[in-house]
Amino acid sequence: MSLNRLRLATTPTLSATLLLAGLGLLTAMLFGWQIVGDWPAPGDRLAGLILFYATLPRGAVALLAGAALGLAGALMQRVLRNPIADPSTLGVVSGAQLAMSAALLYAPGLMAVAREGVAFVGGALALFLVVALSWRRALDPITVVLSGMLISLIAAAFSATLILANGEYMMSMFIWGGGSLEQQSWAPTISLVIRFVLAAVVAGLLIRPLELLALDDANARALGLGVTGTRLAVLTLSVFLAASVTAEVGVIGFIGLAAPNLARMAGARTLRQILFLSPIAGALILLMTDGLVRLVSLGISQTVPTGAATALLGGPLLLWLLPRLGGSLRVTQQSVVLAARAASWRLLFPALLLLVLAACALFVGKNGEGWALATGHILDLVVPWRAPRFIAAAAAGAMLAAAGVLMQRITGNAMASPEVLGISSGAGVGLAAVLVFMPAASRLVELGGAAAGAVIAILLVIALSARHRFAAERLLLSGIAVGSLAGALVTVVMARGGPESLRLLNWLSGSTSRVSPEDAMTALAAAVLFIAPLPLLARWLQVLPLGLSFAQSVGLKRSLAASILVLIAALLSAASTLFVGPLSFVGLMAPHMARLAGFVRPIPQLIGAVLIGAALMVLADWMARTLAFPYQLPIGLVAALVGGPYLVWLLNRR
């Protein structure tokens, strides 16, 4: 096998080839060792069946799933001209998982007959949203991945809600989320073989148009290629591959990212080489990871799911790739939507809206019979519960919006938002650690754990991007990498399925219902404390979006300004994350809405975004509280569902 590879690669460096060959050898040894371990004693028919129906198909599925994801990743990277695209970074896997969870609960009959179809629809829908969000920025690689991350987070929040609301099949959904390669028959293997071969043939037919896509769209078009059609066909094919894998074994992350890069390292340069080597590399990586997982979990009854293990590799892999991506990830200049400017007095409108919504939140609600206006005695009873929620929601919305303004201005990227700093995921890891190691910890300890996790995450991101003077793409990619690492850790804890999983899910889905009056006041104080000084730094906010070089030529120390602003953004989102969960969508949306309402200069935009963010969250909280009364919806999800379609429309408006 390694000989073949040597011949294929035109300029393989010796060490890279050795690396691949070594990987292959190690994998083969690991798997061989498993087979030896499971080899039946003479006459032990059951052990023979286990070898034949569990061990061998598990290996086969690992190879096939790895190959399919490797191919899917290679195709996506090619067609989007994006070296960090893969089914997990683009949200395809999360979309497929969400669709499967929803179908299991609400259309079990459909799940029984059309599992792959359900997964495909979910994955395709997620990818469609990602493309819609980043279309106006010409599918610029970082913007695409940012959108993918956002869609993944929302899909995960959605899945969490489904799991929480339906206890029946909780275990199935945890297993999918973790991604397990366990087998008990050859049926999934056969299904994957058919699908992989089919996809490989189609990919082979598409090779010529794919080669042309290396040119930019205009050139490819000039050569007579239907660019949009080709892209659509190839993306459909990769979603098909990724959804097939997800349907059989659940979420397996980052193989599609790792495999093509490994293939490139081994010397693959042309499209044909990459398309040939990526599935091989993917198959080897997944089989090896699975072998290691089985090795580690020997003797421990609580296994780490394989998918969670590959996801753990994803964060470090992205970090390792960062310096090697070179200019291919340079952030393209954004085409700013030029809104008519509004006079500052118009800021009264969002302020008024906030007041109206606040009144709504306090006075209007539901009781056992339906909608009711709270007055008199009832009002006295409900206000102590409604007021803290509304205050915390408003404070969190304001802080997220301010953090969003800062992030978008520091990076000059319209898709940047607080969650790309990896803060909420870091807080999640801190909370998970507290829940696992100190199950009886008090709320204060939990808050402390979450805060510590957030601080560690942000320090990591700052450390990783400081060397590059906080260049926009480094900052964003470091945040994405740290975020996905932290997300994978949370997945591992969640896959254990214990009571801490439920608490984590509850936190992930985002809620204001636990907020005490003290919490609300603390959140409000944090909002005032961190937002109030920002207008003093308005000049930084004006200079930074123009880029590194401009800041330098007018004598602004960009590193200093960016690190201070990043730190403030981190504090803002950490504070809101602690009290109401990881609800970062508002942080993306509010700055856009403020800008499109005509508040363009830093201070009006900041004030506008803060007011709009607060109003959005108060509205979302009110809806979350009343729509499914007495059951409560997760506020972050409501905010995403209310604002998401509007944002897609805004970003694509001409």
């Binding site: 059951l46 079990p108 029984a112 929480l164 087998q183 008990q184 009781n367 519960w385 254990r496 636990r514």
Partner: protein, 288 residues
């Protein structure tokens, strides 16, 4: 046969008790934990409000819910506002709802009874919970009757399964067609099976009543055991497993030592313990 009829009558009798209304001089009680809700209903108490009643009817099933209990929403996302307007006089919760204690105590005193603790057998704790609740409500006599009935029922049911309990039992829950989790000695099912005289085949330690999911092939490590699959079973697993060569090759399946039980609350109180014992006995008798 006679014993069985007697037992069933006894059992039915305890369910038919009229509901005792909460003490007249106070507001009603609210219950934010399913095991305690079961316990209260078994005592004949009718709480004014409790949690996640839609799913309760699917998974817990018995004791049946009387009409008129107000649903407080998900266990993990209680509707505090609604609860506050109901002005309860007392709230029952467990370690699973302890996260909400600070908030709940702003409305009414909270009584906490924890049944499921890491590495501890839950049956006695369920008994203690029932005694504690009965003590609060002046229903000691009813509690003692229920407890002794339950203990008697478990022992008697075990006796009737003398032949079956010569084999160890493996109590599992299916995640999908490829994974199961087993209930160990610190689970209610494991504890109840032990009280019925069974040896639990799952000897390894578990955390909070059930191990993390393991692969189906691990069933082969328990060749002599009876396998009891507790519902709910995912439809897809129910469809594929009977065709699976590996599943059919497992000794317990091959030799007809597998029973499928309907939904039972794995984190229940004494009523869940009783339901498990009854359903297990019925199914084992049926396949025998």
């Amino acid at each position: 046969m006679r014993t069985r009829r007697n037992l069933l009558q006894l059992f039915a009798g305890s369910l038919a008790l009229p509901f005792a209304s909460a003490r007249a001089d106070e507001g009603g009680i609210a219950i934010v934990d399913w095991a305690l809700l079961e316990t209260a209903l078994a005592l004949g108490l009718k709480p004014m409000a409790a949690v996640e009643l839609v799913l309760y009817q699917k998974i817990v099933a018995e004791p049946a819910l009387p009409d008129g209990i107000i649903d407080l929403g998900l266990r993990g996302a209680l509707n505090f506002e609604l609860l506050a307007t109901l002005q309860p006089s007392l709230i029952y919760g467990s370690n699973y709802s302890a996260w909400a204690n600070d908030t709940l105590m702003r409305m009414a005193p909270v009584r906490e009874f924890s049944i499921y603790l890491r590495g501890q057998a839950p049956f006695e704790k369920a008994v203690a919970a029932m005694r504690g609740m009965a003590g609060d409500q002046g229903l000691q006599a009813r509690a003692e009757t229920y407890i002794s009935e339950t203990e008697h029922f478990l022992a008697a049911t075990g006796e009737r399964l003398a032949r079956q309990r010569q084999r160890p039992i493996l109590i599992i829950n299916l995640g999908d067609a490829r994974h199961f989790r087993a209930f160990g000695s610190d689970s209610m099912f494991g504890d109840v099976a032990a009280r019925m005289g069974f040896v639990n085949s799952w000897a390894t330690r578990t955390a909070y009543s059930a191990a993390a999911p393991v692969g189906l092939e691990s069933l082969a490590d328990h060749p002599d055991a009876i396998i009891a699959v507790v519902g709910p079973v995912p439809p897809e697993a129910a469809r594929t497993l009977p065709q699976s060569a590996l599943w059919r090759a497992m000794p317990a399946v091959r030799e007809g030592r597998t029973v499928w039980l309907p939904n039972i609350n794995p984190f229940g109180g004494l009523p869940a313990a009783r339901r498990f014992a009854r359903l297990l006995a019925e199914e084992l008798k049926r396949v025998a």
